[in-house]
Symmetry: C2
Subunit: 314 residues, 2 copies
């Protein structure tokens, strides 16, 4: 029996990952977006329902990341039938947790399954990158790749696209601290210097090499020593009140390190156990309570599954 | 019975390793320096014999890398006895194959064994770095660390020193092409730009992350894609006639990639088999024959043993 409607989930993701500026991302569990895609007798792609976005997301198919992604896919297939998209946002917009990526990836997963899986999961990535071009003005993959594939994903190169899943150490946990303030991705990018000293470039290389080695060797101490971003964090962290206080407090509490998730304002903290991940979440709560700035907190293992199908209706 | 004389070997090394500029090195087999250290009744450290250097290396203990390294060690031990050093150079000077590092590391291995192993092997590294400060004007570790420990070694950071042995894939071979021309290390450093674009820094980070992942995953294709240096090679390779021709020819022959060994002029080529490593050595020979520039060629597996003791006399 032909499927009529498929619903998929795609998780929140942390891009940049400190020394992994622009090349590394990872996925978290539970938190994410759901998208349902249905067959329709009316040709064309339509966004019919959006929930959880406080009315902020567009229904125009040229602007909505779900429809942009699905259209890129259906064009590749020469599919000319009708598809209707319902988007259920679980992620806050503009939070730095890969909100637009999660929507696009969930949409692609649902549409691909609905159409009988013409693509392998990993081959959906170029369509998701196309949708990021709309959302961010640049076709980044460091959110969409981990949202799709799960785990830690290295984007070694874009032309041609070279996406490398890395090993995820057992026991690694993430705390996400989302302060209720809005940073615009392009503002956050504009504070970056256009050039860096040879010394800083070398330091960054050493740290990302150490981080990758630490992931493969499950060496938590090495991961911790390597989580140091000398390129983006110094300019971007000043945009996030409380960042320095959180950073200062987490290592004595046993966390491995922290960084700005994507272009912020969410702060991610990596910990070697769930217990410590909760401990540092309480510490972050105290920091932001003092500043009377509301935050959301999430604690999660690293999601090694990526996007998945929730429901198929026939 | 107390030892009277110990002889040690330390191998040639390739530092920088393309995208691993200033942070990565590896060791080769067979090719290297030998150093004998003997107890003497006359207090103090003396260099008594140097062979294979065409008379170019200094006997002054403040200038010879062997004596500088050993003195750093004996000072740490408060050892005030007499030591005599004989150096047998197997490596050409100024070749970019870690000549000074091999001498210093072999000297430290021999002296440490002679004195009853007061230090673990890895703890000799700071003394070797001290000797590099004399030889290169900067205390680099990307030759001495692999010369001592073998394999691929990441120098994540210098202050404090963080040296990380990486996995060596089975079947990985190296070809060294040493053209007979002299480049001065400090000249070779002076051609480097003091700053790099954010884009180049990000590309380099992606490549070193890919190279480290490729080594751990034994993924030869990923290693090959990652062997791309956008920071040092563009300025340094113009100092090495034949470099571009070698680089162009090796990939069609099945090699993984190449780069400048240390600050040159030696070119290293990595291959996925011994057969291909020999094949590309013939290719390099043709390139340099055409230019009538003499070269030395070496083909070797990656040395995973590092420095070792050859002989102990009691």
């Amino acid at each position: 029996m032909e499927k009529q409607k498929v619903t998929a989930f795609a998780p929140a993701t942390v891009a940049n990952v400190s020394c992994g500026f622009d090349i590394l991302g990872f996925a978290v569990e539970d938190l994410g977006d759901k998208v349902s895609v249905s067959l329709s007798d009316i040709p064309g792609i339509r966004v019919t329902h959006i929930e959880g976005d406080k009315g902020k997301l567009p229904y125009e198919i040229e602007k909505n990341t779900c429809s942009v992604a699905i259209r890129a896919m259906t064009e590749a297939l020469n599919f000319e039938g009708g598809l209707e998209i319902e988007l259920y946002k679980g992620l806050p917009l503009g939070s730095g947790m890969g909100s637009s990526a999660a929507s696009a990836v969930a949409a692609l997963m649902a549409a691909n399954t609905l159409l009988g899986n013409p693509f392998e999961k990993k081959d959906l990535l170029p369509f998701a990158i196309e949708s990021e071009r709309i959302a961010c003005g640049a076709g980044h993959a460091d959110n969409v790749a981990p949202a799709l594939l799960g785990g830690f994903v290295l984007i070694r190169e874009y032309h041609p696209l070279d996406v490398i899943p890395l090993h995820v150490p057992r026991g690694l946990y993430c705390t996400l601290v989302h302060p209720h303030l809005v940073l615009n991705t392009s503002d956050s990018r504009s504070v970056l210097r256009r050039s860096v000293s040879l010394q800083d470039a070398t330091t960054q290389s050493g740290n990302i090499a150490g981080l990758v080695a630490g992931l493969f060797q499950e060496d938590m101490a090495l991961i911790s020593r390597s989580l140091n971003d000398v390129i983006a964090e110094p300019s971007r962290s000043v945009l996030i009140p409380g960042y320095d206080e959180v950073k200062e407090g987490i290592k004595p509490a046993g966390a491995l390190g922290c960084g700005i998730s994507g272009s912020g304002p969410t702060i991610f903290i990596l910990s070697p156990s769930e217990e410590i991940a909760w401990e540092v979440s309480r510490l972050a709560q105290q920091v932001f309570d003092t500043m009377q700035l509301p935050i959301d907190l999430y604690v999660s293992a690293i999601n090694t599954r990526g996007a998945y199908i929730l429901e198929e209706e026939i």
